[in-house]
Symmetry: C3
Subunit: 205 residues, 3 copies
């Protein structure tokens, strides 16, 4: 992993840990609960990716900065959560960056593990959204990403497709950067303009 990529990966972990920690504080967990939920939100998607790709122990357990960054974010939330929760706008921006980086690394790891296009896209999306799903399951919520109808996972899907197409054509790094940027742009536009995913019609129920 290049230094630039590791840095982005850690930025993603930090922001995801902030979101996990804030949700844990709202659910009135104790300090240990805040640290665990923040950490699982931060590294859960990548851990699922590594376990499913057969690359164990997961990257986030092998390199200490992942746990350190997650714990630091948890500590910040624990001590100053009223201030952190007011930073809604920068958190959305950084979260979109994290989603882009996680999606691209997940797709790339899946391709390296020999998966085909559909498996690689599925694992890329799971890497991007898996941490948030685990957060919501631990806090006894139906995962937000399934409910709010926002364009979040679809942004991730678009980026994963770009990485897969790029790997077929032969380029790699450029397409990966493009995929991450696409996720970021789609996600930010969707959040700004309140684009939403379709819901099932329920009239016959």
């Amino acid at each position: 992993m290049s230094n630039a990529q590791l840095t982005l990966d850690l930025v993603g972990c930090f922001v995801f840990a902030l979101s996990g920690g804030l949700a844990a504080v709202r659910a009135r967990l104790d300090v240990f609960g805040v640290v665990v939920v923040a950490t699982v939100t931060a590294i859960g998607g990548g851990a699922l990716r590594d376990v499913l790709a057969g690359s164990t122990p997961p990257n986030a357990l092998r390199h200490w900065p992942y746990l350190a960054v997650s714990a630091a974010a948890a500590g910040i939330v624990f001590l100053w959560h009223p201030h952190v929760s007011r930073l809604r706008r920068p958190i959305v921006v950084l979260d979109a960056a994290g989603l882009g980086v996680f999606t691209v690394t997940g797709t790339r790891v899946a391709l390296d593990a020999g998966l085909g296009p559909s498996g690689a896209v599925a694992l890329g999306i799971l890497t991007g959204i898996g941490g948030g799903i685990l957060r919501d399951v631990l806090l006894r919520e139906i995962p937000l990403v399934f409910r709010r109808g926002e364009i979040y996972a679809l942004a991730s899907a678009a980026g994963a497709v770009v990485v897969v197409v790029g790997s077929r054509i032969g380029g790699t790094v450029g397409w990966q950067i493009g995929g991450a940027v696409l996720v970021f742009v789609v996600r930010i536009l969707a959040a700004r303009r309140h684009w939403s995913a379709p819901m099932p019609r329920l009239r016959d129920h």
Copy 2:
């Protein structure tokens, strides 16, 4: 995997995806939630099996028809769920077939991974019921298979025992077919005649 077995495996995926998709529609998820919950219900049991058996990446990520069949079922449920939810009887029948096939493949994979009888039975049952458990956890329900007192998991257990006994005696394919048929028959009879598993007595509480 033989062609007949792959076909049955995909039929199981399709029906499990229908049940997952219907539950997701009832929980008012958006289109992405319906697709993910349907897919996890369909391939979750097999993915748990492969991860626990150390056979990664999971089969369902390595072969695209699994994801394609799950996504197709999710699309059908999303568009026509009032019609699909009326097909209660054929869904129970196909679900019983899926339970039988998943139980047998799970038990066989466990034996191939070197597990003994009790481990193989446990993994066979988990393969059969794991997708439904993940579906219920994602939708914030206590898993149906633990609650409704129906003979569902016990049907799976019976089939897993048959496969293990068969592997000890030396035959394999015939015993596997027998195991799957046993699961199917026990499950259908239990559903028709409302056989139920015992509940703990609560008088002293």
Copy 3:
């Protein structure tokens, strides 16, 4: 694994299965639900440890006594739960012993898999508390270990740190025993004296 260690591991499984079974009875599950929740509580932490460490199939599926002990505990709870639930004090003591043993084996497995100090401590804690977290997720509760503010996970963390420090210094078995005893003593003292972990302050919310 030495005989003494295996014995302690099985004692831990037995007590964790009792706690899982009691929770399942309270949630009004049927006999199958009681057996599965008890078993997952007993072997779930170790299974997570083995999957994350890349040591599959998990130990508890490879050696039948783990499943046998868990099923026996589930049966005892199913038949005599009013009596079992009255044994609060011995269960707290045995549970503290189980937490100590599971923490130490988890940390040791993590070190053997090549993880560094922070990864090993994280995996040691997860081995100790993972079964209880899975129990609560299956029963649709926010994990008790995050909520009650008791010193439970912190006891586990202290023991994991001792094992890691010991492995750095060069001794192993003595430090492992010391780590398990430390978990036990801290946990018992915390339970007796109602020591609690800090909660986030919520005045600004």
